[in-house]
Amino acid sequence: MTAVIETRGLTKTYGTVRALDGLDLSIPRGGVYGVLGPNGAGKSTLFRILLGLIRPTDGSASVMGGAVGDVAAMRRMGSMIETPRFPPYLTARQVLRWLALEHGIAGEVDIPYWLDRVGLTEAADRKVRGFSVGMMQRLGVAGALLSKPELIILDEPTSGMDPPGIQEMRALIRSLANDDGMTVILASHQLLEVQRVCDRVAILNKGKLVREGAVSELTSVGERLRLSVSPPGKALELLGARGAADGDAVLADVKRSEGPDVIRALVGAGIDIHEARWVGTDLEAIFFTETGAVQAPETIHAG
C-alpha cells in the first residue's frame, strides 16, 4: 500500500504546549480515512502542517510523495479545513472561478458540474455573504474538489449542516472514494458518521497516535449479541459464563458464527426473543477508551 501522507516524528509546540508530539502516521492511498481525537488532540495542527500553513517544530511530513511545500505534490491535493470563508462580494460561481484561476485550471474546470455535485446549483449566482454555514461548507468542498485531486482533506465537512445535508455529504464523500478514486482524509467529531463513512481511522490524543486501523477490525473486537428476551433470568442461566445482564436485556459473548445456534437454543428452551442485534466495540467506545475522555451518560453504543 503506497502512502499519500507520511509523517515521521512530527512535532509542533506552541510555547510549552505540544500540539503534536512525535507523530508517526502513514495514511494509505484509497478509501476514506478518518482522523479522530478530542479538541486539542492535534488534528487541526496536523492538517495545517500538511497544507503548509505552519511549519513543524521537529520531524517531517510528506504529501503525495513530496515534501510539504513542494508545489507539484501539493497541487495533487485539495483541502477544506475548518469552516471556509470567502470574499463576501463574490457569488458561489465566482468563488469557484477565482479558485480555478488561483489553481491554474480555469480553462479545464467544469464549475456547474461541481456546483451541482455539492447541491449549490440554485444558489450559484447568489453572493456568499448570505450563505449559511452549511452552504459555505458545501462551497468549500466544491473548491477543494475543483482540480480533481488525488487526495482531499476535509476537516469537519458536515459542520453546520442539517440532517439531509449531512446525509448528502456522507454520500458524496463515499462516492469520491468509490467512484472518483480519490483518497479522502476526514476529520469529524461525529463518531457515528466516521464509522459509517471511513474505511480506516487514526485516533489522536495529546498529539500522539493512540490507535490506528481498519474500522471493521477495530469494531469487531469485543462484539457481542444483545438479546431482548423474556424471561432474562432463564436466558442468563442457559448462557452461563458467556451471558451478562444489560438492563432488561442479555449480552451473549459469542462469535457471529455461533449466533444462530445460540438463538435456536434459547428458543428451544422456551425463551421468547423480542430483539437480537450485534453490538460491538463501536468507534465511540474505542474513542472514549483511548482518549480517556468522559462519556456522556446518555451516549448509546449502537451496533
Binding site: L53, P84, P87, L90, Q94, L99, L101, G140
Partner: protein, 291 residues
C-alpha cells in the same frame, strides 16, 4: 505560477466594485467636478481677477481668452501630478484591500498550498500596479475633459503639439508617478503581512506619509538642507519631486544641486524595495493558520 496568482487577483478585484470605485473612479470624478466648478467660478469673476495685480500669473494665463490650448502640454502637466495626495490615498484603499483581503476573509488557507508564497504576494503587487495604472488613466481622461471644458469656457482652440520632447516628458513623468504610487502602497503590503490587518495596511502608509511630509520642517532647524542625504532619504515624496524636476527640465532642473537626483533615486528605490523584501521575507515564514 505567478501568472495564475495575477489572473486570480485581477478577477477577484474586478468583482469588488466598492474597491474599484474608490480606488479608480472616485478621484478622477471629484477632480473633474472641482476643476469644472473652478473654471466657471473663474469665468464669473474674470474681470475682477484679471484686474487684480496680486493674482498669480499662472491663474491669469489659464483665463486667457482666445488663442490655442495645447492638450499635449496639459497631459504632460497632468502626468506630473498623477501621484498627488488624493490619488495616493484612494489607490491605497484598493491596495490595502488586496494586500490584507486574504487575512480578512481567511482565504490564505484555500490558496496557499498550491502556489509559492512569493508568487501569491507578487501577484497582488502586480494587480496593485494595474490598479494604479487604471486610476492614472482615468485621471488623464479627466484632465483631457477638463482641458476641453476650459477651452470651451475661455474660447480657446484645442491643439495637440505632440513633440518628441513632450512625449518623453509625458512618459517619464507618467512612469515616475506610477512608481511613486506603488512605493506608497508598498508600506501597506508590509503592514498587512506583519499585522494581518486591513486597517494597518491603510493607516501605516498614511501616518508615515504625513510624517514624511513634515520632515523638512523637522530637519531644517537641525541644519539639514533639503538636498542633504538624510533629508531626501527619509522623504520619498521629496525624492519624487526632485526626479520630477529633473525629468521636466528647464528652470526646475537647473535648480537641482549636484548629486541630488542620485540621492532621490536611492531614496525612492529603498522605500520601494525594502518594504517589498520585508513583506516577502515575513510572509514566507508566516503562520497562515491564524488569519
Amino acid at each position: 505560477m505567478l501568472v495564475d496568482a495575477i489572473r486570480a487577483e485581477g478577477f477577484r478585484l474586478s468583482k469588488n466594485r466598492t474597491a474599484l470605485f474608490w480606488s479608480v473612479v472616485f478621484v478622477p470624478i471629484i477632480t473633474l467636478v472641482i476643476g469644472t466648478i473652478t473654471q466657471f467660478v473663474m469665468k464669473a469673476n474674470e474681470a475682477k481677477l484679471l484686474a487684480d495685480s496680486d493674482a498669480p500669473p499662472g491663474l491669469k494665463m489659464m483665463m486667457q481668452r482666445g488663442g490655442e490650448l495645447d492638450l499635449a502640454q496639459g497631459l504632460v502637466e497632468a502626468a506630473g501630478n498623477l501621484a498627488g495626495p488624493m490619488v495616493l490615498l484612494f489607490v491605497l484603499i484598493g491596495a490595502a484591500t488586496l494586500y490584507a483581503g486574504d487575512y480578512r476573509w481567511e482565504t490564505w488557507r484555500l490558496i496557499s498550498a498550491r502556489n509559492s508564497r512569493s508568487n501569491l504576494l507578487l501577484g497582488k503587487l502586480a494587480v496593485v500596479a494595474q490598479l494604479a495604472l487604471a486610476a492614472m488613466l482615468f485621471m488623464l481622461v479627466a484632465a483631457v475633459i477638463e482641458n476641453f471644458i476650459r477651452a470651451s469656457i475661455f474660447d480657446r482652440t484645442i491643439v495637440f503639439g505632440a513633440t518628441g520632447e513632450a512625449f518623453g516628458q509625458f512618459a517619464g513623468l507618467f512612469a515616475l508617478s506610477w512608481l511613486r504610487i506603488l512605493q506608497f502602497t508598498m508600506m501597506g503590503m508590509l503592514a498587512a503581512a506583519v499585522t494581518r490587518s486591513l486597517l494597518a495596511a491603510l493607516f501605516v502608509p498614511l501616518v508615515l506619509g504625513v510624517a514624511q511630509f513634515f520632515t523638512p520642517q523637522m530637519l531644517g532647524p537641525m541644519g539639514f538642507t533639503p538636498d542633504a542625504w538624510l533629508s531626501i532619504l527619509v522623504n520619498p515624496g521629496a525624492a519624487m519631486d526632485v526626479i520630477k524636476a529633473a525629468v521636466s527640465g528647464g528652470e526646475a532642473a537647473a535648480g537641482l544641486a549636484d548629486g541630488e537626483v542620485l540621492k532621490a533615486w536611492v531614496s525612492l528605490g529603498l522605500w520601494t524595495l525594502l518594504p517589498l523584501a520585508g513583506a516577502l521575507a515575513w510572509f514566507k515564514r508566516q503562520d497562515l493558520s491564524k488569519e
